[in-house]
């Protein structure tokens, strides 16, 4: 694959990566940084990519790992500062607006990182369970049980608690 072809293939993935990054980081700037870092990493590691690996799953995996690394670093830093337990509320204007509009989105936004990622990959992006297992580095059975938990959590937050999460998010 020549460079312009690689660039084209990556470029078509940009909107999906941005959407994922936005829902993962819940901050527009952080999401853009994540996508940019993902692109850099992808270009640098392009030759180490297995041919049978789907480009989409590969990129999602890079982005997800970058996000987790960043979060780990941030929490170590917080630990260093002794600011533990005072987790920062996400600044997330556009998503808050949509969240306000729909209780399902509000519930979705309130889920933990991994559950948000799982639901996005499986229901929105349509990745196979095998691909998701590859991204998370867990057996497919584990993906299934985690997906059940995520779907139950989404339902529980969406039902009955329609108003509260939105209000909490809006502050």
């Amino acid at each position: 694959m020549s460079d312009p072809h690689i660039d084209d293939a990556l470029r078509t993935m940009l909107p999906r990566l941005r959407r994922f990054a936005l829902w993962l980081a819940r901050d527009a700037h952080a999401a853009d940084d994540l996508v940019q870092s993902t692109m850099e990493r992808a270009l640098a590691k392009w030759n180490s990519r297995r041919d049978d690996e789907s480009l989409r799953a590969w990129l999602f995996a890079i982005l997800y790992r970058l996000f987790l690394d960043g979060k780990r670093r941030a929490s170590r830093y917080a630990l260093l500062l002794g600011a533990l337990g005072r987790e920062e509320e996400p600044t997330w204007p556009s998503a808050e607006r949509v969240a306000e509009a729909h209780s399902t989105l509000a519930a979705f936004a309130a889920l933990p990182d991994e559950q948000r990622s799982l639901l996005l990959w499986v229901t929105v992006e349509g990745l196979s369970y095998q691909e998701v297992a590859g991204i998370l580095g867990v057996p497919i059975g584990t993906v299934m049980s985690r997906l059940s938990r995520a779907r139950r959590a989404l339902r529980a937050l969406g039902d009955g608690t329609t108003e509260t999460p939105a209000l909490r998010l809006l502050k």
Binding site: P15, R18, M39, H102, S148
Partner: protein, 251 residues
């Protein structure tokens, strides 16, 4: 058909619409029997559909140019070029340092070569055939007295009459190691050989017997008693033969 409940995998596949017949009917039959589970799975399906519909809009946003792969590729290349430049600079510094070190080593070596002063003294005087000597006499007794008074009483001046060489005279030099004396010999055919003696210096740098050539001169050197000696001649056949004779007498 089996009546066992479908696997977790099949339930999710059903929710996500990945399930083909006959497993799809199997799931549906199972859900028909279990109203509570059916309600949950139905809610999961709805949630998934809503998410799909609601998040589809987020794709419309245009990507910032900073994220474009071609732009990033260019930036990575720049970074790589910068790194190579830094590495090249580093290598350049290293090699300059190494070169400098090598040259400094060369500089220092001149002084470190054994009896380099003897060769310089020869160059200074023998080439002009004895011009500028402190004492010009063929008399060996006079020379012996001159030598013992200045360099050391125990220094023996070789008698080279048998080898066909007669002394022309001597000259004193100040060296870092102490006073040095050179006596020049001549064989009457234009061949000049020097006999050079000086103290080994404060560090008592005594020499093993050796010889070396430098700039067309041949130096034989050794240590004996409290002095270092050198015999210097031109590094040609006649000089070699003469030096050989003198050394056999002198040592």
């Amino acid at each position: 058909m089996t009546t066992s409940p479908p696997s977790e995998h099949d339930i999710h596949a059903y929710v996500d619409g990945h399930l083909d017949e006959p497993r799809r009917s199997h799931v549906e039959r199972y859900l028909a029997r279990d109203a509570e589970r059916a309600e949950e799975v139905q809610a999961w399906r709805q949630g998934a559909q809503q998410l799909r519909a609601l998040l589809a809009g987020d794709l419309a946003s245009t990507a910032a140019p900073a994220m474009d792969p071609a732009v990033i590729r260019g930036r990575l290349r720049e970074r790589r070029v910068r790194r190579v430049a830094i590495a090249a600079g580093f290598v350049l510094c290293l090699s300059l340092g190494a070169m400098g070190g090598w040259m400094a080593r060369g500089m220092g070596k001149g002084a470190m070569e054994p009896m380099a002063d003897a060769m310089q003294a020869y160059r200074l005087l023998a080439v002009d055939h004895g011009l500028g000597l402190d004492i010009s006499t063929p008399n060996e007794n006079d020379l012996r007295a001159w030598l013992s008074g200045r360099v050391g009483a125990d220094v023996r001046l070789p008698d080279l009459a048998d080898a066909g060489f007669r002394p022309m005279g001597g000259r004193l030099f100040a060296t870092d190691q102490g006073p040095a004396a050179m006596v020049l010999y001549d064989d009457g055919n234009g061949h000049t050989v020097s006999f050079y003696v000086r103290p080994p210096g404060a560090a008592r740098h005594l020499l093993p017997r050796g010889e070396r050539e430098d700039g067309g001169l041949l130096a034989n050197y050794w240590s004996s008693g409290d002095h270092n000696f050198a015999v210097v001649a031109l590094a040609d056949a006649a000089g070699r033969a003469a030096a050989q004779k003198i050394i056999s007498k002198a040592i």
